[in-house]
Symmetry: C2
Subunit: 351 residues, 2 copies
């Protein structure tokens, strides 16, 4: 896939890691240790390798200065704006490496090789980099699209099969935003294994994301907000239950769809159609609140308030769905989200 704007990356798929593309001795490889353990041969041609422990700690700004000094100590070559950082890993590795690439010498070249399905379908694309400050997620960051994103099956297969199931959450999200074409492809492929389905639909999913990003690359007009579908409560679930981003987004999607239905924004016919796909994809296990203890209102409020800081006014731009392919952004009060949480059974207690 060739980029059609400076906010998109050149995207290509391959079965094996394209080592031959990285013969430039001066590049820096930033790689998730877990990937390296499974594919130790990857670093064969690299002089400069910085292996990291993936996770939120990697994104902590408190430790960032020390890490940057380590990298400059290690990367013993004249670094210029044409130097290149190649990041192999999931979302946290991409965010970390992307931020470094965006500020080092005011910007060096950056290429991503996502090792998780979530990164492959979502975070490696669209140019957002981020670090956490004082425990607040993504408090600082830059818009800095990678020049290229290499989707490599052998890298993605270093993840356990269960992680592919998590990737389906973002796949369903983007299909719901894109419309009938991707949604039909999702139904068609529902019988396949998650990894196979994701591999097949990666490119249309990425194209659908770029179609949104292109309208609002730096999040100024608000057009990009629809990508937040399922994420408002998804982030709450992620923090409260400590489960993966993918599972939590699936839960958050369910919450948003159920609320859209209750508000009569989404028709019951459309809701039935979507629910059917959740079942076929085996996602309903994360969406049935009977399996979860309900959350205390106070802690949900605190988590929403933290997320709320992202907007200037006192409301949250919540993404509802009218039809498949028809998102609707509506500002809502935090209290409304709480009441809906109680109604759906996720939240207990007084607000």
């Amino acid at each position: 896939m060739y980029p059609t704007s400076s906010f998109e990356s050149f995207v290509e798929r391959s079965d094996k890691f394209p080592l031959e593309k990285f013969a430039r001795a001066k590049d820096l490889l930033i790689i998730d240790k877990n990937v390296l353990v499974k594919l130790p041969g990857l670093t064969r041609d690299w002089r400069f390798v910085y292996a990291v422990e993936a996770g939120e700690e990697l994104k902590s700004f408190a430790g960032f200065a020390a890490r940057l000094e380590q990298i400059l100590e290690l990367w013993k070559t004249p670094i210029s704006r044409s130097s290149r950082i190649v990041a192999v890993g999931g979302g946290s590795v991409g965010d970390f490496a992307g931020f470094i690439a965006s500020v080092l010498k005011r910007g060096v070249r950056l290429e991503h090789v996502p090792s998780t399905w979530l990164a492959a379908i979502d975070s490696a694309h669209g140019g957002k980099t981020a670090l956490n400050v004082g425990g607040v997620k993504n408090q600082i960051g830059t818009f800095y699209p990678a020049q290229a994103v290499h989707l490599v099956r052998e890298i993605l297969d270093t993840q356990p099969e269960g992680r592919a199931l998590e990737g389906l959450g973002e796949l369903v999200k983007i299909a719901l935003l894109e419309g009938d074409k991707m949604f039909a492809a999702l139904i068609d492929g529902a019988g396949e294994k998650p990894a196979a389905l994701l591999w097949k639909l990666l490119e249309p999913a990425i194209a659908a994301k770029y179609a949104v990003v292109r309208q609002d690359p730096q999040e100024l007009s608000g057009a990009r907000k629809i990508l937040n579908l399922g994420h408002t409560m998804g982030h709450v679930f992620e923090a409260a239950y400590g489960r993966s981003h993918g599972e939590s987004v699936t839960q958050g999607l369910w919450f948003a769809l159920e609320w859209s239905r209750h508000k009569n924004i989404l028709s019951s016919r459309e809701w039935d159609k979507i629910r059917d796909v959740f079942v076929r994809l085996n996602l309903q296990r994360w969406t049935d609140q009977v399996d979860f203890i309900s959350l205390e209102a106070r802690s949900v409020l605190a988590l929403l308030a933290q997320d709320k800081k992202m907007t200037a006014d006192d409301k949250v731009d919540f993404v509802f769905l009218r039809t498949v392919g028809g998102p609707v952004v509506q500002p809502v009060m935090i209290e409304e989200i709480m009441l809906e949480g109680i109604r759906q059974g996720w939240v207990r207690g007084a607000i």
Copy 2:
């Protein structure tokens, strides 16, 4: 002055600080302590004020995480991309505040109120922000133009008169790049006090800089390199003699012009014309190497090599001058610069 591209700032001049423009209670003021001491009334309308000690230490990345946490602790308001940081200070304050503005929430609004002539004429414009890592200057940074730059006479006058003389170095540089029009204005105004001359020529000088920046806002094509006139050796002089940036750039300009003449790039007639302006502006005191102890070759080499890291190959793009308004960029070996340094008497010892 209205911007003609997204890489330029709205620029305006006023005698007094335009407090009324900053009535938004949610903005953050980052201000040089020395300015605050002289104009304590400035902070009257501000809820959030972060006063800093100007200088290179402020730009140290090692201390940056702690400073950012202090700022987030202090700036107790929902911060969004439409929040605004106003920086009152010289180059280091602008670089520091600009970097923060460029990464906080992936970019908040930024306005500069330069308190030094050097910042007013140069560093506040063109969008470069920078921090130092492990002792290396400007190792990281971003391209992030301020929305507005307010040139305020009462702020600039908080500097001692001697500092205005330093500002003349950058003024002469930009006049040499721009051409006969600015050069004639410089000659016309040579009898005035430095501050008065700078105040008069600020806008054409800034316009001349933007004309260059516009061709190569992110330093990709190389067109912006001509702004480095006088700076290659200027940085060496600055580090070696520990004098101000303005004085050092004047010295560095002299070095570049003298070399241009020696190489017959610059005609002797043109050189005489330029030299005459140096004398009229009372700048020759910094350019006569008799007043300076010559520098040891080894330390000059080390300083040049550090600067050299900015380019990918083994050469330095040195900016020569053919005529007033006619810069010429030529790649030279570091050894050539050293030999010229010895020839001019700035450098001693074997290379």
